[in-house]
């Protein structure tokens, strides 16, 4: 009996059935259905179809402004203290017509950031968030050092490289 079982490879046929079934499924569905339909394959066609991120996704650190366009940060330095890799540097300053302290400098070194969101957790004024950017690559180290000034590449705007990953919230 076992001799026959060895001769007739039912086990291998079983495996081939599983893979063959998937081949058929994907072959007949992959290129015919609309995007976001119930596809048999699991590949996301990433640059063409935007990635769907969860609301709590931890991306790049961003400073927020309130309705008047005023920076919300009041320089309590909680984020600077709690940061496990010390990537935030804040310098306190004064500004005309503002009672609370004002950050003259808010520097963020993304090259060492580990995206743990401790800074956001420690912030008592909801003045920072981690946005939904995950495409954060750069060509040189200066690209990873982000401050309050700088054209298009600062703490308020999303990084210019991440064109496909900014979520709408």
């Amino acid at each position: 009996m076992s001799f026959l079982r060895t001769l007739i490879p039912f086990d291998i046929i079983g495996g081939l059935t599983v893979t063959g079934r998937y081949f058929g499924k994907v072959f007949f569905s992959a290129n015919r259905k609309k995007i976001r339909a119930n596809l048999a394959h699991f590949t996301q066609e990433y640059p063409e179809v935007p990635v769907k991120l969860q609301p709590r996704y931890r991306g790049r650190l961003t400073l927020l402004k309130d309705e008047q366009g005023e920076i919300k940060c009041v320089c309590c330095l909680a984020c600077e203290k709690i940061c496990p890799t010390q990537v935030i540097t804040i310098e306190k300053g004064k500004k005309e017509g503002r009672k609370m302290p004002f950050p003259v400098r808010y520097d963020f070194e993304m090259e060492r950031c580990i995206f743990c969101e401790f800074c956001v957790e420690s912030c008592g004024f909801d003045s920072i968030i981690l946005n939904h950017q995950f495409e954060l690559a750069g060509y040189n180290r200066e690209d990873f050092s982000i401050g309050m000034d700088g054209l298009g590449h600062n703490m308020f705007n999303p990084s210019p490289v991440g064109r496909h990953s900014v979520a709408e919230d």
Binding site: E91, V104, R105, D107, E109, E111, R141, E142, S145, G147, D149, G150
Partner: protein
């Protein structure tokens, strides 16, 4: 013609990498803060501390009473109102879910059995945070491990973990080595502890528990404690030629050779100013980048 006579400007020194170059040996993050205390949990020390604290509290109270008496008699003598009698300070009770686990006297049968077996070799037994701790003399560790492993009422079959801690502030020892034993059949755990001075070579547990092989190599690698009769006492995680033992307290957190050059572009010269200030305070040799 005038140009050719003019002496050539001396060649500028080679530009340092990046905006700043630190004197690594003197860099602030290298300044190691050595611990002042010996955080070695021990029921004996704890009871002594509690007793001392209670005595101090009592003495303070007695002093307050005495002061009050003095003040009272003084006030009576001067005909003023009597001062308020002192209130004994009640320890502040925090409203939170924390119950600090203090060491308590050993009541577990295993610990008592171990003390009975080993006799004088046992220095201390106690329990803390639900864990059984037995501190034995450093020469008797092999004997203690053998007892734990082979005594039928103990039967700790597995050496789950072995590690060591550096106590530079301690006087008569430098390291504690802990052995975490597990009894799979009885679902129990036990911690054996020895205190060894610098340079002492404890016996290896490899013969009794082969799992100690790599753990002891790691201890040697990280803290520099050698073990006698170990089959292969070499470094395991660091390279063979590594200098120093990283988990000792005098070893700086940032290893030798790490570059501390800031690669960010300096916005408005703020960083430069800050760094110069800091360097001036610390007396660090901070070269300025070449101006171009």
């Amino acid at each position: 013609m005038a140009e050719s006579i003019e002496p050539q400007a001396p060649a500028a020194p080679e530009a340092p990498m990046g905006p700043y170059v630190y004197d690594y040996a003197a860099a602030p993050f290298r300044q190691v803060v050595m611990p002042k205390t010996v955080p070695l949990p021990s029921f004996r020390t704890y009871t002594a501390e509690v007793a001392a604290a209670a005595a101090a509290d009592e003495a303070k109270w007695a002093k307050q009473l005495a002061d009050f008496e003095v003040a009272k008699t003084k006030a009576e003598a001067e005909g003023k109102d009597a001062p308020k009698p002192p209130v004994r300070a009640v320890p502040r009770k925090d409203d939170n879910d924390m119950k600090t686990p203090w060491p308590v006297a050993a009541t577990d049968a295993d610990l008592l059995k171990l003390q009975e077996l080993l006799g004088d070799s046992v220095e201390e037994i106690f329990e803390q945070a639900g864990e059984r701790v037995c501190q034995v003399k450093k020469e008797a560790i092999l004997e203690a491990l053998k007892a734990c492993r082979e005594e039928p009422s103990l039967k700790y079959e597995m050496l789950a973990d072995q590690s060591a801690t550096h106590y530079p502030a301690a006087k008569d020892f430098a390291f504690s080595i802990v052995y975490h034993l597990t009894s799979i059949s009885r679902s129990k755990r036990l911690r054996l502890r020895i205190l060894v001075p610098e340079g002492f070579i404890p016996e290896s547990a490899c013969d009794l528990y082969p799992s100690a092989n790599w753990m002891e190599r790691e201890i040697y690698d990280m803290l520099g404690i050698r073990f006698a009769n170990h089959p292969d006492m070499t470094r395991i995680l660091c390279p063979e030629d590594w200098e120093g033992y990283p988990l000792r307290k005098e070893y700086p957190t940032v290893g030798w050779g790490q570059r501390d050059i800031d690669f960010r572009d300096d916005r408005g010269g703020v960083l430069n100013r800050l760094a110069m200030e800091k360097a001036g305070q610390l007396g660090i040799n901070l070269k300025q980048p070449k101006a171009d």
